[in-house]
Chain length 405, copies 2
């Protein structure tokens, strides 16, 4: 298949399967916001509203509205998808009304009606809210959205040294560790709300993030990224310190590739491509195919009982990193791996009967949970990945002369 053929496949899935699935099944017409617990057919099986997923769905529809013209569906006068903007605003209304505690931090979850269920212990609720309102401020030009995005971002910066606050169960001082997720996402966030920040703040955040990801969490001896390190970047010989989350590391690599492209930093691109390939080689399941979810850097049993499962987001994010890596550097291994992983992913995750993708497969690639959405899977990784892959594949089609595929 040529990049053009692949591009068509990703585009079609995005526009004709995945976004319509969420538009059709997830809207709570009675209480606002989105249902995300959808079974195989798209029926709602639980009505709790998880702030991560509410915000991610807002972001997804706002982002697509901002970036795509009217490929299909109802158009605004600017040729954009009015229905996508409406979806994003519908979710944002609910979040604006019910999502925040008095201190401005975002709850983790709400009841269907919007009453707070789980406290703001999880800073990623705030991260996804920042992204959501940032994209919506671009889409609408509304100051109120920009204000929420900016206030939330400042709250994250203020909490970043102790993100779990009173809900942290670690005894302070005994074994301080820092986690990979926050620096990785902060850098993405800074770009998401670049239009609301000072240039210096953006540059500084990016600088710090690249350093943290590529020098601190990347363990040169191991040749892989660790999920947790000591505050001064050393290895901790503990369950947390030995933990590898290959999908997470590979996802970070396409953020880094985007930054490298922005700076035209060839060496950084090459390093990100190498880490992508090394991680994939390490975490590829030689027995059953697919990418393992968790591993222990020393080969010990990890704590996570789900370690050998095949998760949708891991595979989607890796497809993006491989395509970006190929597009930016022409590394043939990226393309070869993309073809192999594309085949695994498309033959295991999508559900041609009822639409959208399964999220959780067992090691053998059999469906473990037949859901299309739940507490952690919503309208985010699949549409974002389809969009990202489609865009890169389009560019590859247009530049055939650069890298013969």
């Amino acid at each position: 298949m040529t990049p053009q053929h692949y591009a068509r496949q990703y585009r079609n899935a995005l526009l004709n399967d995945v976004t319509p699935f969420w538009q059709r099944h997830s809207v709570d017409h009675e209480h606002g916001g989105f249902f995300t617990c959808l079974d195989r057919q798209g029926h709602v099986y639980d009505t709790d509203k998880f702030v991560w997923l509410q915000a991610r769905q807002v972001w997804t529809f706002a982002m697509l509205y901002n970036r795509l013209g009217q490929e299909s569906g109802e158009a605004t006068s600017q040729g954009r998808r009015a229905d996508w903007l409406a979806m994003a605003q519908y979710g944002a209304d609910f979040l604006e009304k019910y999502g925040r505690a008095e201190d401005g931090n975002w709850y983790f979850s709400l009841t269907r009606e919007g009453r707070p269920l789980v406290q703001p212990y999880n800073i990623f609720s705030d991260c996804f809210a920042t992204m959501a309102f940032g994209q919506l401020s671009i889409a609408t030009g509304r100051d109120a959205y920009a204000h929420i995005a900016k206030m939330t971002f400042e709250g994250i910066l203020a909490r970043q040294e102790n993100p779990k606050g009173q809900w942290s169960k670690a005894v302070a001082g005994t074994r301080p560790l820092k986690n990979f997720a926050l620096p990785m996402i902060l850098c993405n966030l800074a770009l998401e709300i670049e239009h609301l920040l000072d240039r210096d703040q953006v540059d500084q955040t990016i600088e710090t993030c690249i350093h943290e990801v590529m020098d601190v969490f990347y363990d040169a001896d191991l040749g892989l990224i660790r999920e947790n390190v000591t505050p001064d970047g050393q290895v901790s010989d503990s369950f947390e310190g030995r933990l590898l989350n290959p999908g997470h590391a590979i996802e970070a690599m396409w953020f880094i590739m985007d930054l490298a492209a922005r700076r035209d930093d060839r060496a950084l691109m090459e390093r990100a491509v190498k880490i992508t390939l090394d991680t994939l080689n390490y975490a590829w399941d030689k027995e059953y195919g697919g990418i393992l979810y968790f591993m222990d850097a020393d080969g010990h049993p990890p704590q996570q009982l789900e370690w050998d499962q095949k998760l949708w987001w891991v595979h989607v994010e890796t497809l993006i990193s491989l395509l970006k890596g190929y597009h930016l550097t022409g590394n043939q291994q990226c393309w070869d791996w993309f073809v192999r992983l594309h085949d695994y992913t498309w033959s295991h995750f999508p559900d041609p009967t009822h639409g959208e993708w399964y999220g959780y497969l067992n090691r053998r690639g059999e469906v473990l949970l037949p859901l299309k959405g739940g507490k952690w899977k919503g309208c985010y990784h699949v549409p974002r990945g389809l969009y990202q892959c489609w865009q890169v594949l389009e560019r590859l089609s247009a530049n055939k002369q650069l890298h013969t595929v």
Copy 2:
């Protein structure tokens, strides 16, 4: 096989495989306490000390010391196993020195040296400490052990309405739920330290526990025990409210059978046997055999990605309930199920090459993690289960005339 043959198998595994495995591999001769993260061979792969598992191992060796004569090994002048008492005391020394926070509550985990790692957010650390020091006070007659057991038990009673305290992430009032584990274990605890409590307190605790387990958490419409219910015992249509933990429910049934036997309450015995069999029929994996770990009462996808795994403790606890049920009521289904589950359990969990049992199998019964111990698996369910089964099987052998096997 006759009960006598089975009895020999359980006895041998306890005395010649499982207790020696932990005596050989788990003792930290340098810093005290026990290693529990042991790989297939018994080698230590992580040195953190989890209070649940420290206390459970103390309890196991103290309980065996208290209940068994010198079947083998070094004997005290009373014909008891001095080495078992020494093991229990060795772990208790470490716990006494390092296990408690200033307020007397027990930490969740410690470093190898005994420095606190994870706060006392988990009341089951206190429950297992009560059991450990209670058994040791019986073994030694030492007041200091009795005092720790009693103080800890009182702390549990004081915290029982809000066991997670400041570490609870639930917003108070929105969806209050109570969990099955605490009432279930409190009743067991009251018996464990019966020698330290008023008769009234013991009777009252047992009365409450039986009511909670058999009337409140047991859902008569569903015919199964729910893991969480509202404070007034109603169904909550939420992930937590729909959750079933079949092994947990079945484990509770042998606690109830013991209480029923103590009171000579035939109706209660029969109910406990029925719930055991109904739960087992419901949770037995018709495709691959073994008992599923988590289920959703309405058949929706559970949150737990490990829902379809086969765990050692689930199978061990069910063997106990089936044997006790058969011994107390003569119900033939209990024996037939015991034979079937015995075959599954013994052909999947024990490791004849390196000793002890695997803890975590995938749905197909293949080893998922080759560990013999970790953060949650230690020296507890296997030896307790072997001991309990052996004892019931001995009694069955002696009373062949009552229930022909």
